[in-house]
Symmetry: C2
Subunit: 204 residues, 2 copies
Amino acid sequence: MLVSGTTGWDKSMSTRHALLNALVHGDASGYDLVKRFQPSAAHWWHPRPAQMYTELSRMEADGLVSGETVIQTKYPNKRVFSLTDAGRAELQRYAEVPSPPAEFKDELVIKMMGLDVADPAALLADLARRRKWCVERLRKDQSSVDAMLGERTADQYAAEADDLGEYLWRLRSIGLMQASVEWCDAVIGVIEARRSPANEQRTA
Amino acid sequence: MLVSGTTGWDKSMSTRHALLNALVHGDASGYDLVKRFQPSAAHWWHPRPAQMYTELSRMEADGLVSGETVIQTKYPNKRVFSLTDAGRAELQRYAEVPSPPAEFKDELVIKMMGLDVADPAALLADLARRRKWCVERLRKDQSSVDAMLGERTADQYAAEADDLGEYLWRLRSIGLMQASVEWCDAVIGVIEARRSPANEQRTA
DNA sequence: AAAATCATGTAATCGGTTACATGATTAT
DNA sequence: ATAATCATGTAACCGATTACATGATTTT
């Protein structure tokens, strides 16, 4: 598995509870979990391997998970983690704490602040890149959803499936990516309108 | 000004460049900038005062801004910052660095991971709260945009205005909030479908 | 032969958060 | 009287990132 490079990783979230929730569906090694949260496998948020390993150790120290070492001959030994009762209790507690509003962090928005004084060329290039990235992400998420659904309707899937989390995560991503693409187009439109304010003299 | 409490603050972004960009439009004290990025005044991202003050000092040490102390008798003295040439150069450099993909951090999405094993009651409450929050945010952003436009069309505004950053920031927020509300509704739908899988036997 | 897979971790650093401290002035 | 405004900061902490280190095995 290639870990850094390509498109790179995105940023932060509640790593501990993400790991806890991931272990609900079955025991896993740190390595398994790293893969499950990888950018290619997952979506728009990815804890880094370094932190996942440290967090797993901390969780073990806190008694939320227990790790058993599995000795392997051909490959390095691994530690397989499972939820403890305390872990499950913590998950329950967490479920009942109201979630804070989602956080959105977008450097492009910051750059927009300088738009009325800056040269828009660099911004246009940036917007085009961003738009492309979002379209690509959208395509991937959409095809994941299609693959998950198969022949079923969304309602059937909702009733039967056992990986609703994955599914809903992708739905979330799709919505955000659509909004992002539309925003890019709107901003490009604004910059164009500013560049050629021809239509001002038109109607009135 | 009341700083903490109420809905509270959201999280992180590139504080340094946000401050730099804010100073493009005119000199300002730390306090002015704190207000400009406040949740009520601004949008969905807000650096904390503590960090803005520290960051301004660091920027001054790095020569990107220069602060002049203004002595006041009735109120505490203040330091008014202005961009230096180095600061403007840094802003230019920053404009040319490609922006990384936007980051989205949403604890609700994490909670969804446990949906097929957990009791959905707590989640439903959480979703309802979230939905309400987003609708409210949406309303505020929408009325800000309306106020900015006034009698003008979007194209006219784009050609004339000198606060495009504020405007585009709100457009971004509106798109994200709309997507968020729709997602909440979709998830609620999924949970309902799961709770009463009545329609499975229907057509086929 | 080169690259990717399996598998885990440490150390240094950093950006950001929380909590706290101060105190005159003005508006409700 | 109470609360909010003006105005700035420090100290402790913490979650997360970057960079690095290891090395046999399997696939291309």
